[in-house]
């Protein structure tokens, strides 16, 4: 009988681990976004930098899009500061958009402001 209980618990643990893994996939990394390279240009509305990652809200022909930029060290590394992302500036984002239909969310690999490249993920094609 104790053996049986242990088996049950083990099954439960494995199931929980799978659920946790699929939930994690939903957001971290790139699995939640489409594989296709995506490019979008808009005007910066607001910005919130910081952990766990920064978010820039941009206006694209009257539609609001959210751009996920990096965590603080990644933004710092390329010099992407709050000042660079000031309201009213035009920004072009290269990255991957959310795979969820209708969701206006992009994870940025590289952004272009005033013709200058800020490559957050130098190791990735953008």
């Amino acid at each position: 009988m104790p053996q049986l209980r242990f088996t049950y618990l083990l099954c439960f643990a494995v199931l929980a681990a799978f659920l946790a893994a699929s939930a994690a996939q939903a957001h971290h990394g790139w699995a939640w976004a489409t594989d296709e390279e995506f490019e979008i240009t808009g005007v910066i509305q607001s910005v919130r930098l910081g952990n766990p990652h920064g978010e820039v809200t941009i206006d694209v022909d009257g539609e609001e899009w959210v751009v996920e930029v990096g965590q603080p060290w990644r933004n710092d590394r390329v010099g992407l500061s709050k000042e660079m992302l000031s309201e009213g500036r035009e920004i072009t984002v290269h990255g991957h958009r959310s795979a969820r239909e209708g969701e206006r969310l992009v994870k940025a690999e590289r952004v272009v402001i005033d013709g200058k490249d800020y490559n957050l993920y130098p190791g990735r094609d953008s």
Partner: protein, 161 residues
Amino acid sequence: MIEQALVAVEDLAFVSALRNSTFMYPLVNAGHILGVSMLVGGIVPLDLRLLGLWRTYPVMVFVDVLRITSAIGLGLAVVCGALLFATAALGYARSPLFQAKIALVLLGVSNALILGRVLKRQDIPSLPMKARMPLSLRVGAGLSLVVWISVLILGRLLGYF
């Protein structure tokens, strides 16, 4: 009024520093996870013993040890959780998931305090080792399991919605 207070919290110097830190934020995050794991990791075997598993071991061994590790875990989770909350106070406060989670934490803590009193009042240490626990304790233990695991799930969902 509340919004202003929450924004003021976000703007505190040490909160800003944490929000923009390289290592402190993930470390506080790890502290929160350690707290939650100690809490849930203690509560689950304790509740299962109260529900009737492992009756060849004295119930008070579970109670005396796991109550303490769970409480320490809760304390750590609350302190680290408060810091994480502060970095985006307004956003968390507005989130229905967060509100539900905090309500469940309060319910879980109240339930645990009540369970502690029932344990004392029913003189559990003097029961025979294999005795079934009184119904009130079993109900409380079942509620505790559901509540704390729900808190963990809600906390995790917060990162994604």
